[in-house]
């Protein structure tokens, strides 16, 4: 199964192949390739084949089968599906089965998409390398000794290795865009509130957003259109009408302004700087106007994020008490809190515990004002800074991550790991949209390691962002495939 989602869909619709053949070949590829990659925690073969037969029957009967009919989509394991488990790659939820589908999943399935499996991730989406996954590290298909990025690493790998037509990820501080960059695929974090989070296991509620990881910008635009829009089951979903990005994609971007912040050219690897320079030149070639913009608070983003996100996580993860669902410690306990504390200590891995501790600390009496309140004030400044920059440009260009993928086990210090997200956290802090696009390779280590560039655009300018991304993809060339 090669080609992007739209190609696969069109071949099924034109009866050049069948949904069953596509799903079966996808299952075969997963069986042969994924042992080395560990991108899937669970493959939903039985239900996927049944759904494929349903699509094929629909085509044979001439029914309207939906704009995603027959395409196999992988779902990050923190997004609820009725079939299979939803583990968040955590022992805490090892056996958890959701009694409902996430709204995003329901909308994909209603459009005919087939859920092929659940993908590995950093535990509870906390990480940038997929090394905190309780089911083992996920491996980069370009070099299996290296990390795929995270936290949606399994989804990015599944797309990069052609183990699905597209995948869903979630992005709290870069968790869609950074793995997409490191695996050489497209990753879209829509604006805050654009896609329902009903069924997304909450991490940082003021930051979390579901989005697609795809082979092409066109695929991302299509999946965005299918999933976006208000949902009565998520009161934080934006009620505003969704702009359809698909009609915009082919429009030229001549005259649109691309902002380049000086702050995005500091501390990158030489290969990333070179990729950024090439991307800038591509935009010049296709008629965009390049403008300097100033984002002096870029460096403060990590500090702001690592107050807000752990604070929200410590609150959200308080629900995991081992009583109603999730892991419960066995044995006799002196009191209720001993039972809760033992269950949580056994169920959560080291990084999740660290974030809960950090969040609990910054929210605790005596520290709330110094850390949490102050971070929320800086958050407003970061938002204001983006607003000021977007007064002068339609999108901001920069790297997605400062380096290409590092070796598994290569970064052990938590703070160094956090700093990998310097270019992505502020997108979530401000609630704007961002996309990572394949933009070349770092070949300095002897292997080809993908590099991504990021475009960011104002809140609810997702359609415009996708238009600009599509123009870049066309000028620069689409994604390449690992050997």
């Amino acid at each position: 199964m090669k080609g992007d989602l739209v190609d696969i869909r069109d071949k099924i619709a034109r009866r050049e192949t069948t949904a069953r053949a596509v799903v079966q070949s996808t299952l075969d590829r997963i069986a042969s390739e994924d042992r080395a990659l560990n991108s899937f925690h669970e493959v939903l073969a039985e239900t996927a084949l049944a759904a494929a037969d349903h699509v094929d029957a629909g085509i044979a009967a001439g029914r309207n089968i939906g704009e995603l009919a027959g395409v196999p989509i992988a779902v990050k394991d923190n997004i609820a599906t009725r079939v299979g488990r939803t583990t968040c790659s955590s022992r805490m939820l090892e056996n958890y089965r959701s009694p409902f589908d996430a709204t995003a999943v329901e909308r994909l399935e209603r459009a005919g998409a087939i859920i092929i499996g659940k993908t590995n991730m950093d535990e509870f989406a906390m990480g940038s390398s997929c090394e905190t996954c309780a089911w083992g590290a996920v491996r980069n298909p370009w070099d299996t000794g290296r990390i795929p990025g995270g936290s949606s690493g399994g989804s990015a790998v599944a797309v990069a290795a052609n183990l699905c037509a597209a995948a869903l990820g979630s992005d709290t501080g870069g968790s869609i865009r950074q793995p997409a960059a490191l695996c050489g695929v497209v990753g879209l974090k829509p604006s805050y509130g654009r896609i329902s989070r009903h069924g997304l296991v909450a991490f940082g509620s003021s930051l979390d957003q579901i989005g697609p990881i795809t082979h092409s910008v066109r695929d991302a635009a299509l999946l965005y259109r299918v999933m976006a829009g208000d949902d009565p089951l998520d009161s934080t979903c934006a009620p505003e009408a969704v702009d359809d990005p698909l009609p915009l994609l082919e429009q030229p971007i001549k005259g649109l302004r691309i902002g380049i912040p000086a702050q995005y050219r500091k501390g990158n690897s030489p290969a990333v700087d070179a990729a950024l320079a090439r991307a800038t030149e591509s935009f010049r070639t296709i008629g965009a106007t390049l403008v300097d913009v100033d984002l002096p608070l870029t460096d403060v983003g990590i500090s702001t994020y690592y107050v807000i996100a752990p604070a929200e996580a410590s609150s959200n993860l308080a629900r995991f008490d081992g009583i109603r669902y999730g892991h419960r410690a066995s044995g006799n306990f002196a009191d209720v809190n001993a039972l809760l504390s033992a269950s949580r200590a056994e169920g959560f891995g080291a990084e999740v515990q660290r974030r809960i501790m950090l969040g609990t600390y910054v929210l605790s009496a005596g520290y709330y004002d110094a850390y949490y309140r102050r971070a929320l004030q800086v958050r407003r400044l970061i938002k204001n800074e983006f607003d000021a920059a977007f007064a002068h440009c339609d999108a901001i260009l920069g790297p997605t991550a400062p380096t290409a993928a590092f070796p598994i086990g290569g970064v052990t210090d938590p703070l160094s790991m956090y700093l990998c997200d310097v270019y992505t956290v502020n997108t979530n802090i401000a609630g704007i949209c961002g996309i990572s696009l394949p933009a070349g390779f770092d070949e300095s280590t002897g292997t080809r390691l993908p590099i991504g560039i990021q475009l960011q655009a104002p809140a609810f300018a997702d359609a415009r962002l996708l238009q600009i991304a599509h123009a870049f993809e066309r000028a620069h060339g689409g994604r390449e495939h690992p050997a």
């Binding site: 056996n95 009694p99 003021s206 500090s303 107050v307 008490d321 809760l340 009496a365």
Partner: protein
Amino acid sequence: MMLFHQAPFRRTPHTMPLNSSTMSNAAESLTVDDVRHVARLARLAMAEDRLPVMRDSLVAILGHIAQLQAVDTRDLEPMAQPLPMRNRLRADEPGKTMSTAELLANAPKTEGDFIAVPKVLGGDSA
């Protein structure tokens, strides 16, 4: 079968320094006792030999976060979430609901239509 809900955090006198106007000082002075206290608040059982390790990583992270001190935040309204949102209410009408069996399916232990928990004696340890 006994019913209980998660006990609210009891206010406990804490050992952390109250003067928190300087974050970096607060971070550096974080003690193993403080970490033990935070772990109790977070309902995380933490072995004694892990406390210093956790302390060191929290100190490193909080030390970095101290850079927020250098940002002038005077007169700024805190921004808890990125969009101007209004409270949204729906009509109070009965809708679909999940069955008791579905809701209990994930419980670690059940007895009849109840979630079973081990017998626990005593009160809140916090």
